[in-house]
């Protein structure tokens, strides 16, 4: 088998973007990302000018995966939340449905309890969006799918 595919469509994008933006405003966070557990940024809310979101996503996913490994070693099923406290910025990473992760860059002076609470609430809202999407694609025709590119187009892309 190969890896499953996840597609992000306009409707889900808008809903997730709205949820992330609301949390970002409420926490006055700099940046909020929904990423895949394989390390790809999916939806970004906030200013990403000074932060390399691709690298951040990759490292956050690896960090969470390594933490899962640590949890197993000490007999825990998971450590589902990671907090890195900095002098000016802090980082919060939490698991979401074992397929995604929520990453938050926020002011180090913010209450980590509030961050944790809001992230939990946000995770539930995003889970609803993803479940709605899954139900929708199970019941109806695909909303839109990847265009069927030809072998010639593939060769043009990858040609020497």
């Amino acid at each position: 088998m190969s890896s499953p595919t996840f597609g992000l469509h306009e409707l889900e994008f808008q809903r997730i973007q709205a949820i992330l933006s609301k949390m970002r405003r409420e926490l006055r966070a700099e940046l909020v990302l929904l990423i895949s557990r394989s390390g790809q940024p999916i939806v970004i809310s906030g200013s990403s000018e000074n932060i390399d979101c691709t690298a951040l996503s990759s490292l956050a996913a690896a960090n969470l995966a390594a933490t899962d490994g640590l949890a197993n070693i000490v007999g825990e099923r998971e450590f589902s939340v990671l907090v890195h406290q900095g002098r000016q910025r802090s980082l919060f990473i939490s698991d979401l449905m074992k397929r995604f992760s929520l990453v938050l860059v926020f002011d180090a002076t913010a209450s980590s309890g509030l961050v944790r609470y809001k992230c939990k609430h946000t995770s539930l809202l995003i889970e609803d969006v993803i479940r709605d999407y899954q139900r929708r694609i199970e019941k109806t025709e695909p909303v839109s799918s990847l265009p069927q590119f030809s072998d010639a187009e593939l060769e043009e892309l990858l040609g020497s």
């Binding site: 595919t5 469509h9 557990r37 394989s38 990759s58 490292l59 265009p147």
Partner: protein, 195 residues
């Protein structure tokens, strides 16, 4: 997990370079980084020891171009080759879309190659993948060194399913891009099948 962003019109895939220690996995990524134009690549991140051996992984995001209006982005990862970093290797395989096995062509490294392929098979299985079905390319690296085995012999011992087999000298870039393109092609063909 291939991630297709229909809003931004992007296809995102994850490729992992696997193989025994000191086989040239990081060198492959470094060469790709060197020759890729700035607008088509991100930062090359190396989580390495003080002696520059890969500790956790190297990571390089690159973009090939567009197909049917979709940007094709590949996230390239290496694993640490040293035997005792097995836990890290398992983690890097999470959500992988395609694998490149970088074999060391030197005769004295044949056992290490075989052990690493067996380890790859086990670790893929643990992540829910089957080596027989995942996009996969075998790279025979270090073809410029003395004491290397003939290609036919390496293929006989290392090929697992008739996968593309590419000779390489990674520091000189020989075979590096053909390897990457071969695995990217397989990943996109798989994606087309599932679309």
């Amino acid at each position: 997990m291939t991630f297709i962003n229909y809003v931004a019109r992007e296809i995102n895939c994850k490729i992992v370079y696997y193989g025994p220690g000191l086989g040239g996995k990081t060198t492959n990524l470094q060469y790709v980084y060197q020759i890729t134009s700035a607008e088509n690549k991100g930062k090359l991140i190396s989580l390495a020891t003080e002696t520059e051996r890969t500790l956790f992984f190297d990571f390089l995001p690159i973009e090939f171009g567009q197909i049917r209006g979709f940007r094709t982005r590949f996230h390239l990862y290496t694993v640490p080759g040293q035997v005792f970093y097995d836990s890290s290797r398992k983690l890097i395989l999470k959500g992988v879309d395609g694998v490149v096995f970088v074999a060391d062509s030197q005769e004295e490294r044949m056992d290490a190659n075989l052990e690493s392929i067996s380890n790859l098979e086990d670790n893929l299985k643990e992540q829910g993948f089957d080596l027989a079905k995942i996009p996969y390319v075998l790279q025979l690296n270090k073809r410029d060194l003395p004491g290397i085995l003939p290609v036919e012999e390496l293929k006989r011992q290392l090929q697992v399913k008739g996968e593309p087999c590419i000779e390489a000298v990674a520091p000189q870039g020989i075979g590096v891009l053909p390897t990457l393109k071969a695995v990217a092609r397989q990943v996109l063909v798989e994606l087309r099948k599932s679309a």
